[in-house]
């Protein structure tokens, strides 16, 4: 089943069809939520609530768009609500069981995730959406509700800080 077919099925009230979206996007949604909330439990809660929001608002989703780009706005809102509700409870740095990383991940990849995790949430969000998800400036501008010029300057700053961090880790 693809996203369009699942959307059609969900719109008829078929809750089971929504499983397609959860199965397909929960991994990246959890990883992104964790970067925004910096807390495993809050990330799981925000992700679940965002999926419920998505199901309830699926009628407003345009299937011509990419589902995750639409869903990400809901997820982001839930993460911010979660953060403001509970306050910022930063968990200590990334360890070997870091969410967002494969259990059998290479040391090089782990170093990259550690560096991303040390960035501020706004920077980490931009880096991940641009580099890992491959979003365009327009998509970033729409999802983050900021002008394209701001996307560019913030992305430049985030990359600069990540480059500095990675350079600092080199032997």
């Amino acid at each position: 089943m693809d996203d369009a077919a699942a959307t059609r099925a969900c719109r008829t009230g078929n809750v089971d069809a929504f499983r397609h979206f959860v199965d397909r996007y929960q991994t990246r949604a959890l990883a992104h939520a964790r970067l925004l909330t910096r807390n495993e439990a809050d990330a799981a809660d925000a992700t679940q609530e965002a999926f419920v929001d998505a199901f309830r608002n699926l009628r407003s989703f345009d299937p011509a768009r990419h589902f995750y780009a639409w869903f990400y706005v809901l997820l982001r809102n839930r993460c911010f609500k979660q953060r403001s509700r509970r306050g910022t409870r930063w968990e200590s740095g990334i360890d070997d069981a870091t969410p967002g990383v494969h259990p059998g991940i290479s040391e090089a990849h782990l170093d990259l995730w550690r560096a991303i995790d040390r960035l501020a949430p706004d920077d980490a969000e931009l880096v991940v959406l641009k580099h890992i998800e491959g979003w365009t400036y327009e998509e970033l501008s729409a999802a983050l509700a900021i002008p394209r010029g701001t996307v560019m300057s913030r992305l430049y700053g985030a990359r600069q800080r990540l480059l500095t961090m990675l350079a600092g880790e080199r032997p």
């Binding site: 494969h102 300057s153 430049y156 990359r159």
Partner: protein
């Protein structure tokens, strides 16, 4: 954008070109990169970092969210249904109150407790008995009893 140096201006331009978003860099920018070693190095680092990040995998979710999401969807649907069902009750109570105020009704129907009692009965019927003890197997199983 508040860029303080020529290097930063050139780097933002190059970054957009590198991302496939900025058209073409100017001859002056190309000349700058040729003569500015830090900017050349920065561009190389950006290319290297981009290559590394593109292959960066996510962890497979350590939890399957579906059961929880499904439960929350059903809960929210139930709340929504309940709200929809209670709207008519609320409207009826408003009509009742308006009738009390503006229409000359028989005395027993004017008692203020009548609408309150009607509301309690309506909620009880729609939401179920709040004092009921769940004894059905699926309910107990769901609660881990």
């Amino acid at each position: 954008m508040n860029l303080s140096t020529d290097c930063e201006r050139v780097r933002v331009t190059l970054m957009a070109v590198f991302d496939g978003e900025g058209g073409q860099e100017s001859a002056a920018d190309r000349q700058h990169v040729l003569t500015c070693a830090p900017c050349r190095r920065w561009l190389e680092d950006l290319q290297s970092m981009t290559t590394q990040l593109q292959g960066l995998p996510y962890q497979n979710a350590r939890m399957d969210l579906w059961l929880s999401v499904e439960g929350r969807i059903h809960d929210s649907e139930q709340r929504l249904t309940l709200t929809r069902q209670l709207w008519p009750v609320g409207a009826l109570l408003l009509v009742w109150r308006a009738a009390q105020l503006f229409v000359d009704l028989p005395v027993p129907m004017l008692h203020p407790l009548v609408p309150l009692a009607a509301a309690v009965v309506a909620v009880w019927l729609v939401a179920g008995d709040p004092l009921a003890i769940e004894t059905s197997a699926p309910e107990l199983q769901k609660r881990g009893i």
